[in-house]
């Protein structure tokens, strides 16, 4: 019964993504068609803004507010939020989803309190500045292929900039203005501390963030994100491939394979920019409450929803840059070549869009699970990680990748290097650390004497380090 419920939910989620993306393509084609009548091209992008950004991203992040709490409760062996109920469904907690309604109602009806000496303009501006850039980030992330709907090409990206990744960097850094302004304008020492922490954290991670993607930029020699010549779609090319029964199988040139170090660096740095645990020093709830200390009501709600939108957008950017965007691992050519799919481009777009959003869901899960796994970094640890680990690693990665791409432009050498890196991390993960080894050694050594069952007995060996035996 439980399995059935989970399967139903999974199908529901897939179906929602499928429907939304199909609707986006359909509306895009219709608007494009409408625009041609008025001699305007590119009206199809409006469909992306309306359906992908305003509906999918917003609903996704709204649901994430409850998913964060619910998944966290499962991780911590709790039941999680289940008190809010819908009328006529009093016996079913519905996975805690009605809590969204109560949260929204609470935030909208609470007083928007402003401290007496706070800067009026900046205080009101800060939540918008935190929310706006984060939301605008998704504009360059492609969530589906460019397809011909109603004879007009529809791009599944709000704006296909030639400098997509640079736009990503620029706008991502703008979000910190909201945070530091909130800290400054609140006229509160703790809020100010949070704002200062946020800006210093941003500075220490910005460099690593930029460096981590340079490897991908030189591998595909572009900073474009969307379109056939963008990083997202160029990952569809195969490093090694073969054809079985007309279906192309092979290893695609996904960023995770050719730039695993770049992925780790970008993930860590971008994670630090979202200001979510374990990088939540600006918030630091248990020590300084954070930059939004003085905010209440929907102004606080905007900070909060901005955080979850950032999670979704970061997921989208990661998928577009490192996980092949909307493409399947293999079989894309076969799927796109099917006559039925050629006749029904909306269906094809819906399938690829669903693939994209499922990948995003996976990355989002990874982010939330890390948030529930790791304790908060101490402030000096954050700085040390940014300047002493991420930055030098980024530089090494950049030089090694550059050399390998020069040596072998087919990216195969780069992929082999990537596999070596993945292998090293895999080996390190599967082998016990020094501490665990020593403890096991000491336990085995101790148990060998048959003393373990005698609590009162104490022998001299116990006091010595294990390796002296």
């Amino acid at each position: 019964m439980r399995i059935g419920l989970i399967l139903t939910s999974a199908i529901l989620i897939c179906g929602a993504f499928f429907t939304l993306m199909g609707a986006a393509y359909g509306l895009g084609g219709y608007l494009e068609d409408l625009g041609r009548g008025w001699n305007i091209t590119g009206l199809g992008h409006l469909a992306n803004i309306a359906i992908v950004m305003l509906v999918t991203v917003m609903v996704f992040s709204t649901l994430l507010t409850i998913a964060d709490r619910k998944w966290g409760s499962f991780i911590q062996d709790r039941v999680g939020p289940n008190r809010a109920r819908l009328p006529y469904l009093e016996n079913s907690p519905l996975g805690g989803i009605p809590h969204i309604l109560t949260d929204v109602f609470k935030m909208l009806t609470k007083e928007a309190f402003r401290p007496k000496n706070a800067n009026k303009l900046l205080f009101a501006l800060a939540p918008m500045l935190a929310f706006g850039p984060v939301f605008a980030l998704f504009a360059v992330v492609p969530s589906g292929p460019t397809l011909k709907v109603f004879d007009y090409p529809v791009e599944m990206v709000s704006t296909n900039l030639d400098f997509g990744i640079l736009y990503l960097f620029a706008i991502a850094s703008l979000a910190v203005y909201g945070t530091s302004l909130a800290g400054w304008a609140s006229n509160n020492k703790f809020a100010l501390l949070g704002g200062v922490r946020a800006s210093s954290q941003m500075i220490s991670y910005e460099v690593a963030l930029g460096l981590s993607l340079v490897g991908m930029m030189i591998a595909f020699s572009t900073v474009k994100l969307a379109g056939p010549d963008g990083i997202s779609e160029m990952q569809m090319q195969y490093l090694w491939s073969t054809k079985v029964w007309g279906i192309d199988l092979g290893l695609p040139a996904w960023g995770i394979f050719i730039q695993p170090l770049g992925f780790l660096l970008f993930f860590a740095a971008a994670f630090a920019e979202t200001k979510r645990p374990p990088f939540d020093a600006p918030e630091g709830e248990s020590e300084i409450v954070g930059y939004f200390l003085e905010y209440s009501g929907m102004q606080f709600g905007m900070f909060m929803i901005a955080e979850y939108i950032e999670v979704v957008v970061l997921g989208g950017a990661l998928v577009a840059i490192f996980f092949g965007g909307w493409a399947l691992p293999f079989g894309n050519e076969a799927l796109m070549g099917m006559a039925f799919m050629k006749a029904h481009p909306v269906l094809l777009g819906a399938i690829f869009g669903m693939v994209f959003w499922l990948k995003v869901l996976l990355i989002v899960y990874l982010q939330l699970v890390i948030r529930w796994t790791m304790p908060r970094f101490r402030y000096d640890q954050i700085q040390k990680l940014g300047w002493q680990i991420l930055l030098p690693t980024g530089l090494v990665n950049l030089f090694v990748s550059g050399a390998l791409i020069l040596w072998d432009p087919s990216l195969r050498a780069l992929a082999l290097f990537g596999f070596v890196v993945i292998g090293i991390f895999g080996f390190l993960t599967l082998t016990p650390s020094r501490q665990v080894r020593r403890e096991a050694e000491a336990a085995a050594d101790h148990g060998g004497h048959g003393h373990a069952a005698l609590p009162a007995h104490h022998d001299d060996h116990a006091a010595l380090p294990a390796n002296t035996h």
């Binding site: 439980r2 062996d77 039941v79 890390i370 993960t429 403890e439 609590p455």
Partner: protein
């Protein structure tokens, strides 16, 4: 294992320098993610099991929460719950107003006013039970739930076997329990009960004037019960 099982001096656990797994964070984070994901999947796919017998819990889940207002845990046997005045077979309280419970109560939360059955009637048979509580009041807010009153009672007339706790209320007066609220639950009879020691089981010839119990007085007394029959109050 051994470090947890037996009492070792604290210096046994020396700090080992962090190795490359910890300093690069990634392998340790991956291990952490594996752990949390294991919990997540177990609790996602498993049915919640609230069995208080831990060893008898089945399934893969580790969630054991009882959703309180909808689900309640049965109190264990012997739980000292809300007091009750034990009725006799005819519905009157077994209490003989001896003040033992009121005397031993460390919180002094029991108030008793004794009355006499048929005071003007000098017939010996009807005076087997001399006293009864005109008023028997327990202030449940003062009660410390020590159970001494139950132990002190010579007539097994007050018990705490209701297996409920004192329900919450909005005013203090609501926590003052008098006879109508206290007299509840199944009747209890003992072969040694004095009202069975009389020669005949016919009702005493006097008529109770006061309606001092919730359950109407009158009606014949029960027959002498079998040798030992202690009624067990059913769990809610």
């Amino acid at each position: 294992m051994s470090s947890l099982m037996h009492h070792e001096p604290e210096k046994k656990r020396e700090l080992v320098e962090a190795d490359v797994r910890e300093r690069t964070y990634v392998p340790e984070i991956l291990k952490g993610i594996a752990l949390t994901t294991r919990h997540f999947l177990r609790n996602l796919f498993g049915e919640r099991d609230t069995n208080p017998d831990v060893v008898e819990r089945k399934g893969i889940t580790s969630i054991t929460t009882v959703n309180y207002p909808e689900e309640k845990v049965d109190y264990p046997p012997g739980y000292r719950g809300l007091h009750r005045l034990v009725p006799r077979e005819d519905g009157k309280p077994r209490c003989v107003a001896c003040y033992m419970c009121a005397t031993i109560c460390p919180a002094q939360c029991i108030y008793i006013e004794a009355g006499e059955y048929g005071g003007e009637d000098d017939q010996a048979e009807s005076r087997v039970i001399e006293k009864y509580p005109k008023q028997f009041v327990i202030d449940e807010l003062r009660c410390v739930v020590c159970g001494l009153c139950v132990d002190a009672c010579p007539k097994d007339a007050i018990r705490m076997d209701t297996y409920t706790h004192t329900p919450s209320g909005y005013d203090r007066q609501g926590f003052v329990y008098d006879i109508p609220r206290l007299l509840q639950g199944p009747a209890v009879s003992h072969p040694s009960d004095p009202w069975y020691k009389r020669g005949s089981s016919a009702p005493p010839d006097h008529v109770h004037k006061e309606a001092h119990t919730r359950i109407a007085a009158g009606g014949g007394l029960a027959k002498r019960p079998p040798l030992v029959e202690v009624m067990k109050f059913p769990k809610p």
